[in-house]
């Protein structure tokens, strides 16, 4: 046995004792770590459970009240679970909100506007993201301005404009040329869906600014090399946009689609003004139904009846979006996360 081997053995023994000590120490630390982890996961569960309750509270209340016969509302022995079930609230709500008709109106409006906004806002966002042109920064500031200015401030002049829509000045020009009053050549967009389609078509629709911003951020994150490769292959800018950029922005497109759908669904102030008589969506009918009950002599003093119909109509109002959300939430969350809205 040479001295070298002996030395080696000693080293090994030394190493072993050292590692044993370390394992012991680490084990103790791990134990402590595990304990805090268990406590934290309990805390986390309680936190999520509590806040989840706060979020679900209105929905649970509605669900409890909708199927409850209205005479049990003031019964103190009934808190959450009804003694018997009824469908009369839902049936009343279906009548009061003209549900199927207004649902069709809402769906047509939301889907068409969302589709238009995707096309126009992505085009504009691409323009801002990839091309350098004079006045780009001030113009982008204008996009921000359209987000900041609330609709309530400019929407009276917009109403006048849509009431006498002059096709971007063409009517005035015709009026000047023919010598007649230009109002002969204007059209009223009130009570037509064009009052939503036209602003969406020109990128200044409901919260279009936010969508332009979102698309710009998304296109900026796509590597430039992809475009350059397409250019070398002889693609024009439109082809590049359709073939290269859009397929890479799928998750953003889905996000914008969902947001647009939801925001149009919930819009009340604009729809109330632009659809005084025809094409009223659910949001308007919901409020009209409640106002109608309050002014109708037969139901004015019947508070439980009013509440029953209100809860049922609210449930009918949010149920379609809720269903869409349940089916799309996975993509929705992923879409926002992966390419999402970044600073």
């Amino acid at each position: 046995m040479s001295a070298g081997v002996l030395l080696e053995k000693m080293h090994i023994r030394k190493d072993r004792t050292q590692t044993e000590g370390a394992v012991k120490k680490r084990f103790r630390k791990k134990d402590l770590y595990g304990a805090t982890r268990v406590i934290w996961s309990i805390c986390r569960f309680l936190l999520i459970f509590g806040l989840g309750f706060v979020i679900l509270y209105p929905l649970l209340q509605i669900l409890s009240k909708v199927f409850m016969p209205v005479d049990q509302y003031q019964d103190l022995s009934v808190i959450w679970i009804p003694k018997s079930l009824t469908m009369s609230n839902i049936q009343n709500a279906l009548v009061y909100t003209k549900f199927w008709e207004s649902l069709a109106n809402t769906l047509i409006l939301c889907l068409s506007c969302a589709a238009i906004q995707i096309v126009v806002c992505s085009l504009t966002g691409y323009g801002f993201a990839r091309f350098r042109f004079p006045l780009r920064e001030p113009l982008f500031l204008m996009v921000i301005l359209t987000i900041i200015i609330p609709t309530q401030v400019i929407f009276l002049p917009s109403f006048v404009q849509y009431r006498f829509f002059d096709f971007f000045g063409i009517s005035r020009l015709l009026g000047l040329l023919t010598g007649r009053d230009y109002t002969e050549f204007t059209r009223s967009l009130i009570d037509t869906r064009w009052s939503f389609w036209i602003p969406s078509l020109f990128g200044v629709g409901l919260r279009s600014g936010i969508f332009i911003y979102l698309f710009r951020q998304c296109f900026r994150n796509i590597p430039k090399e992809l475009e350059e490769a397409a250019k070398i292959d002889g693609c024009g800018s439109i082809t590049t946009y359709v073939r290269i950029m859009l397929p890479n922005a799928k998750s953003s497109i889905l996000t914008v689609f969902l947001f647009s759908l939801v925001w149009h669904w919930n819009e009340y102030t604009l729809t109330r003004t632009f659809f005084p008589q025809k094409f009223q969506p659910l949001a308007v009918q919901l409020k009209l139904a409640i106002d109608g009950m309050m002014s109708d002599l037969a139901t004015r003093t019947n508070l439980p009846f009013q509440m029953g119909v209100t809860y049922a109509s609210v449930l009918l109002f949010i149920l379609p979006v809720l269903i869409i959300y349940i089916f799309t939430q996975r993509w929705f969350v992923e879409g926002v996360e992966s390419s999402g809205i970044k600073g």
Binding site: L47, I48, L51, G52, V54, I55, Y57, P58, Q61, I62, Y73, V120, L123, T124, G127, F128, R130, F131, F133, P134, L139, M142, T146, I148, I149, P150, Q152, V153, I154, L156, P157, V160, Q161, F168, I198, L201, F202, G203, V204, Y241, V262, N266, Y268, T269, A283, L286, K287, M307, F317, I318, L322, Y325, I326, Q329, V333, V336, E337, S338, K342, G343
Partner: protein, 300 residues
């Protein structure tokens, strides 16, 4: 020389293509946004009345801007100040809350997808007419006014004050806890924003910090908070805009009611525009103050 000319040509071509892409929006901006905005400015200086021959305009100078303050001495205290100062409490709480929830939702645990879906749910329904309607019915068997909080904590406040805590602290506590419903329901988008930001922080930085022996507390302030600061800026600005333009804002309500109920078009335009200007200035100041502390990892 020829190269520069070609470069110039390329650049002008690029500019033309850029303008082509935004041209549709540009038309909309000028005709459907800036023109109504200009008209609102015009209305602000006019006294308008509807007669048989149509609208009659009469120049009144600054009358529309001051009439409300002169006629109603409580106007500033009851409408303008609440509208402009709502953000002082709401925005900081909202930012802190949403960051906290985003960090919790970013951890790995069972049922995470479900929890996330739950917290984004307010995005779907929030600010909608549904909550407004429910609120007017108090969500309870007794009729309550619109201003009642859905969750109130009077009992807790009494316990706290009888435990000897100073009034100020109890007051802050009740202010926050009374708003918990509003805050949770307001923070949907902010949580999404923060979550997307948290996912962008490279895990290697935390590993390096752990090897150096940093605690979780230090990790948060030295890595997460710094890395997330651009998102914080976006969240702050978004929350500010949301609080200023929300339908429940007293000033927005006033602007809407002034012409829809009282038919005062000029006054509504004037006060609405000046309110927007004030809100814009506040946003600008806060943006300037916050953006100083923002850290960008790859400055491009």
């Amino acid at each position: 020389m020829a190269g520069r000319r070609r470069k110039n040509k390329m650049r002008s071509r690029e500019a033309a293509t850029g303008y082509a892409f935004i041209s549709i929006w540009l038309i909309g901006l000028i005709f459907l946004f800036l023109r109504p905005l200009g008209m609102a400015f015009y209305y602000a200086f006019q006294e308008m009345s509807i007669t048989a021959e149509g609208m009659i305009y009469e120049f009144t100078g600054l009358e529309n801007f001051i009439y409300k303050f002169r006629d109603d001495i409580y106007f500033f205290d009851s409408t303008v100040w609440p509208g402009l100062s709502k953000f002082v409490i709401e925005v900081p709480i909202c930012v802190i809350f949403s960051l906290f929830i985003a960090i919790v939702l970013n951890q790995k645990f069972k049922g995470r997808t479900f929890a996330r879906a739950l917290f984004f749910l307010p995005v779907i329904i929030t600010s909608g007419i549904a909550i407004q309607v429910l609120r007017s019915y108090g969500l309870d068997t007794s009729m309550e006014t619109e201003n009642t909080y859905l969750f109130s904590s009077n009992g807790v406040a009494q316990i706290l004050s009888s435990a000897g805590l100073p009034y100020v602290i109890v007051d802050i506590f009740t202010q926050i806890s009374n708003r918990i419903f509003d805050i949770v329901w307001m923070s949907g988008i902010q949580i999404i924003l923060y979550l997307s930001g948290l996912q962008g922080i490279p895990a290697s930085e935390y590993e390096a910090a752990q090897i150096e022996g940093a605690t979780a507390w230090e990790c948060f302030w030295k890595i997460t908070w710094v890395r997330i600061s651009p998102i914080t800026l976006v969240v702050v600005v978004y929350s500010l805009i949301d609080s200023f333009t929300n339908v429940s804002n007293t000033m927005i309500k006033f602007v809407y009611e002034e012409y829809s109920l009282r038919g005062n078009l000029g006054g509504s335009s004037a006060l609405g525009l000046s309110y927007c200007l004030a809100a814009f200035l506040i946003i600008l100041v806060i943006y300037a103050l916050t953006s100083k502390h923002v850290f960008y990892a790859n400055d491009n």
